[in-house]
Amino acid sequence: MKIIAIDRQGKEHELEGRDGWTVMESLRDGGLDIAAECGGACACATCHVYVNDGWFEKLPAPSEGEIDMLDMALAVEPNSRLSCQIIVGPETDGIKVTIAPE
């Protein structure tokens, strides 16, 4: 399952996502610069990404907890998500995300 990720320098990377894992884990394991300080516990907002190209609408809606935690993210946009809360699966194949600035 593919994940297209754009890093803070604007470079595009194609990553392999694992079914049932999170997009954050793919970004981190792919060596991209994402802090993800709380390791996916929805407690730090340092895994903030923008979900591009219509993918935002295709994802299941964020939980109450994620919406609250996004209040701690910098430079939030309407297509902001916490990448540790996006689960990889066949329906996310090809998802495109941009790592938010820090």
């Binding site: 802090a35 300080e37 709380c38 407690a43 209040d71 820090e102």
Partner: protein
Amino acid sequence: MAAIETDVVIIGAGPIGLFAVFELGLLDLKCHLVDILDRAGGQCTELYPEKPIYDIPGIPIVTGQELTNRLMEQAAPFAPQFHFGEMAKTLEKLDDGRWKLSTDAGTEIIAHVVVVAAGAGSFVPKRPPLPGIETFENAGDGIGVHYAVRKMETFRGKNILIAGGGDSALDWVINLAPLAKSLTLVHHRDGFRAAAHSVNQMRELEKEGKVKFHIASVKALHGDAGKLSGVTLAGHDKTEWHHEADTFLPFFGLTIKLGPIAEFGINLHENLIPVDTARFESQTPGIFAIGDINTYTGKLKLILSGFHEAALMAQAAFHVCRPHEKLRFQYTTSSSSLQKKLGVS
């Protein structure tokens, strides 16, 4: 202020720094701890105070806050001295072989042994990614960009802009509104993570015209020679407007930065301190590293690993602090001398 002299100075009062106090205390070594946070617990209290931990041996379930409370209780007999709200800034080797650690608050601690229990580094405020923001950070009391409010009075009569939707943002809206010339809150949505009663209070102030609230974000800062004059705000529909402000207070919580430890001259590998697994000493003799900050083959960033590291470190640190004394291995269960130290016999 005269320098403090002690056996061991510990950088970081997270779970591992706290347990190190206990292990060192059993060996009669006294500790001072420095942490930039205003309380103990490190990641446990900062990132997950209410979340349960299930893998502490012998405690099937405990929250981050409860574990911290228990570690504090366990360390209490050894009367550790805490220096909270201070950043360990420089480390210097003295001619007599000891170390002098200085903090940003001017505290100086001289010790035989330094224990770095700094986790992934120090917790510092998140800085919005706005060009030139750092030039406004030292503008002076009450003006420019501040990430914390130390003296409220310095903000009197200012045009204040606050950004964020958490408890700090709302608390400071409520507290500063009566003193400010004007106070504006910006947040990216019309909903807040902050406690409901704070949100209600803010809405009241808004109704009374004492606070302005915009669903907007700060796009740029303007000013001359470090003095803020205004910001560009942008709404959801991307329309932008100018907003006058003397003071900008962004409250987006904390993030972890390695910080001054990188300049201590300790050998680092990818921001971690390589240690040997017999002593948990860095490549600089006398400086030990335990918990999340260290690295070795097989390292697991778990609290239980850090506890083990603290126990072994204490044995090695004893010989550095007391080179002419012999260490006696004893169990807390059966040693009356250990029990006396713990205040239980």
